[in-house]
């Protein structure tokens, strides 16, 4: 199997290897998608024009750079697979290298929004196909036979009439002297040998043997360690610091206060952790000091406010509701959630006279670099960023607060330093999934058609908590979607499937209520709406109706919808990050409590690149969606989070995970997102199945605090 290689080892190899094909191609520039040959001497001198390389050395090692941060979405395996497919490489000879940040050449060196594969799909294919064409041409020249008699397969070029063959390494140097073809033919998907197969993660060996890979494992000779005490509650600031006791503790090198942060610097994690507890800090009020009870009142006001911003409006909503045969109205609320990646925030920074070295886990190295350059008032090209593997991200590492504070601390103490967050720092440190309350209203006509639809989204630092162009927009003649926001000192950030991680559940649970009121089967009800959107759309339709119908029907078929007598089933379907996912949950009641037996997922993400990684993203997304819907809850008292570690904050564990079956639609459409789209539908499928099983509608997360799991709390 393909393996990963460190960047240092690759550069050493590139500088010393005798010859070979070094094909530079720009994965991220829209204007320069075609590869060109870079000479070894230029590369060794560090003067290469391109920053993404496909190299084939004379000893037949194929190296592919992967530029996007890897946090478990498996990009470091799936990107190279696409190149290797078109190259017709032998996957066993491929080695993969994590590229460092280069903002001048790369356009999208970001992990977020499920966007990497859709963005790079064609560029990666062209790069592989170009190299293959050059290798075949080199062989035809060497053998002095017509090009049409030569073909590539599994890392060899073969002469069809004589049966002669040469491996890529033997042809690499000659290929490197040829002109780069301007147009190459891509494979027909029926000829794919790697794409669509389940290939193992290229990092498996390093992961299972505990090799240093993550930010927290990063080490530099002479590096100091630091922990930072931040205000314990939101809306507070540091008033005074007495660091005398902490400074006197063993191993403490310095205690530094800056921007409401008190940093304890030393050489041992345990010593700085202990010393930090000896800090005496007084805080004072800086903004609103909020508790969860306040948020409940704020939501009630926002839902009745006349200051909401209209996001989408169709038809005459007022008349539709006035003339309705039946009106259904319902509210759904979710709490704040921390991201809780298993590796807490950390970053290394070394601010020197001549430049800044940064290293650590970030989803957005570009923003980190820009932020540090701005903070220190230096030019961006003075800042380097090494991207370590990320021990999860879920959106938290799209924020750069933890990078900036490391750089600022290093600039103050004039030393290389790694700032380490404890789990408590991580969970209480802000940048949460925003808390949101929705009010849905639906107007049914006498035949049970949904003719009117209203959604008001009220969020706390949520921006626009609606996705106004998503289904059922386009399928309802009279529609009003608006939103309103409360600004809070509690900081928020994107959280895996931003907004839709909760909206998907709320909307799909509400549509279940409407289908019930319309005395219609939940799936038939949705298919009816989609038919309406197709034949007489109400305004723009921004989702692909046929793809949505495709996953709905696949999920219904695979789950045996409507045919099972022994379990209660719930349905949901959601479109996000350009992909379509329908889910059915099977629920049984045991000892008065609903137990989720199984979840079926039908997924249309276009072409599946790595079946193993793709299944992981869907199964992981479902476990994530289920776990947080069931248990996730971050509450506040006087600005301070009530939960700050796993003894108080519940994450889903093995025994709570139902069986999951995943089915992909095999339609050959260019790939769309997959890191997020499986999460939003899960809560809805589960809540709808629990309703069928227990008669209780779950309208607030976490479910575990609601009936039928507990006596309902009123919000």
């Amino acid at each position: 199997m393909a393996q990963s290689t460190s960047r240092r080892d690759f550069l050493k190899m590139a500088a010393t290897a005798g010859g070979g094909l070094v094909l530079g191609f720009n994965w991220f520039s829209a204007k320069a998608e075609m590869p060109s040959v870079v000479s070894k001497t230029v590369l060794a001198a560090g003067k290469a024009e391109f920053n993404s390389f496909l190299t084939i050395s004379s000893d037949n090692i194929i190296t592919i750079f992967s530029p996007n941060p890897e946090l478990g979405q498996n990009i470091k395996t799936s990107f190279p697979m696409v190149v290797a497919e078109e190259l017709d490489a032998d996957w066993k000879t491929v080695s993969v290298v994590q590229a460092a940040l280069d903002t001048k050449k790369f356009q999208r060196q970001v992990t977020g929004g499920s966007g990497a594969v859709p963005h790079s799909w064609m560029i990666l294919r062209k790069a592989g196909a170009t190299a293959r064409a050059m290798l075949v041409e080199a062989a035809s020249k060497r053998w002095n036979v017509p090009l049409s008699e030569c073909s590539a397969s599994d890392g060899f070029v073969i002469h069809s009439t004589s049966g002669k063959k040469l491996n890529y390494g033997e042809l690499a140097e000659e290929a490197s002297k040829l002109a780069v073809p301007s147009d190459v033919k891509l494979k027909d998907r029926k000829d794919f040998k790697l794409i669509g197969k389940a290939l193992r993660n290229v990092e498996n060996k390093n992961i299972i043997t505990g090799k240093p890979m993550f930010g927290l494992d990063f080490h530099r000779e002479g590096m100091l360690l630091a922990m930072i005490q931040r205000p314990e509650g939101f809306g507070m600031k540091v008033k005074s610091v007495d660091a005398a006791a902490a400074k006197a503790m063993p191993g403490i090198i310095d205690v530094v206060t800056f921007k409401n942060k008190v940093a304890v610097v030393g050489k041992s994690t345990w010593q700085i952790n202990k010393a930090r507890k000896a800090l005496k800090i007084e805080y004072e009020k800086e903004g609103n000091i909020e508790s969860s009870a306040d948020h409940d009142k704020i939501f009630a006001e926002l839902l009745n406010s006349d200051k909401a911003q209209v996001r989408r409006m169709e038809g005459d909503v007022e008349s539709a509701f006035k003339n309705a045969a039946k009106v259904i109205k319902s509210e759904y609320q979710c709490p704040f959630l921390p991201h809780n990646p298993m590796e807490p925030m950390n970053f290394f920074a070394h601010v020197r006279e001549d430049g800044v070295e940064l290293a650590g886990p970030t989803q957005t190295p570009d923003s980190a670099r820009k932020g540090v350059a701005r903070l220190l008032n230096i030019s961006e090209d003075k800042v380097t960023v090494e991207i370590t593997r990320l021990g999860g991200g879920f959106g938290r590492r799209l924020m750069t607060d933890y990078v900036l504070e490391a750089a600022e601390l290093s600039s103050i103490i004039k030393a290389p330093v790694k700032v380490i967050w404890t789990r408590e720092d991580d969970m209480a440190g802000g940048s949460y999934r925003p808390s949101v309350r929705y009010r849905f209203e639906a107007a049914l006509d006498a035949s049970g058609n949904m003719v009117g639809y209203k959604l008001r989204g009220a969020g706390i630092n949520a921006g626009n908590p609606t996705r106004e162009n998503n289904f059922p927009s386009g399928a309802v003649d009279h529609l009003l979607i608006d939103s309103i926001e409360h600004k809070s000192p509690i900081t928020t950030a994107p959280w895996r499937a931003p907004i839709t991680n909760f909206l998907g559940y709320a909307e799909q649970a509400f549509l279940d209520e409407v289908a019930e009121a319309a005395k219609n089967d939940p799936i038939e009800f949705r298919l009816g709406l989609l038919e309406k959107a197709k034949t007489s759309p109400a305004g723009a339709v921004r989702y692909d109706i046929d793809r949505m119908i495709g996953v709905i029907k696949l999920a219904a078929e695979k789950s045996g919808w409507g045919t099972k007598k022994d379990v209660s089933q719930g349905f949901s379907v959601y479109f996000s990050h350009a992909s379509y996912v329908a889910q059915v949950a099977d629920v049984l009641v045991k000892a008065g409590k609903p137990v989720i037996q199984k979840i079926y997922a039908a997924v249309d993400c276009g072409e599946v690149i790595n079946l193993s990684g793709a299944r992981q993203q869907v199964m992981g997304g479902i476990v994530d969606g289920l776990g947080h819907a069931m248990y996730g809850n971050l509450t506040f008292k006087n600005g301070v989070p009530d939960q700050n570690n796993y003894n108080k904050y519940r994450l889903i564990r093995m025994k709570e995970v139902p069986e999951v079956d995943v089915f992909f639609v095999n339609n050959g459409i260019s790939p769309t997102g997959l890191g997020e789209p499986a999460l939003p539908p899960t809560g809805g499928a589960v809540a709808n199945a629990i309703f069928k099983a227990s008669g209780k509608r779950l309208k607030n997360q976490p479910f575990i605090l609601e009936e039928p799991y507990a006596k309902a709390k009123s919000v």
Partner: protein
């Protein structure tokens, strides 16, 4: 500060640290054995799991002073070449997503299978329940433990 001689992965390591320093930080900061991970510091997630005399324990809450001459095995010492049956199963099943919790999962599974070579599905659930995987790779963890039990 005190001097400790620890038996780790068949070697003797020495550290000058405070007696209450958790074994986790001695492994990571003093010995550079960073395969053992910090996740919560309160023994609630399992990322820091190592073997102490063959039993899976949480190194984040075990003071170095309590280790004595007991034999410690970390992920780096589980096998010579990454070919312990549990490691092989983890590769074959392609368990890891981000991979951060996996050393702890593997160490928990390896100790469990030593005591329970032919586990039932429920026994696997119970043994692995205390290890959190935030990516939600639980299905494959379960499958890999089962597969490893057929390899040992």
């Amino acid at each position: 500060m005190a001097n400790y001689k620890l038996q780790i992965n068949g070697r003797t390591y020495q550290a000058d640290v405070e007696p209450d320093t958790p074994l986790l930080w001695v492994l990571r900061d003093d010995f550079g054995l960073v395969g053992t991970k910090y996740g919560c510091g309160i023994g609630a997630c399992g990322a820091c799991t190592v073997h102490l005399n063959g039993q899976a324990i949480r190194s984040c809450t075990l003071p170095v002073a309590a280790v004595g001459t007991q034999k410690v095995v970390t992920i780096e010492g589980l096998s010579q070449n990454g070919d312990h049956p549990v490691q092989k199963a983890w590769d074959e099943v392609d368990v890891a997503q981000c991979g951060y919790c996996q050393a702890g999962q593997i160490m928990t599974a390896a100790a469990f299978l030593k005591n329970t070579p032919k586990p039932t599905a429920d026994q696997i659930d119970n043994a692995m329940h205390a290890n959190i995987c935030r990516c939600g790779a639980y299905h494959r963890i379960k499958e890999a433990v089962k597969l490893a039990s057929t390899k040992a």
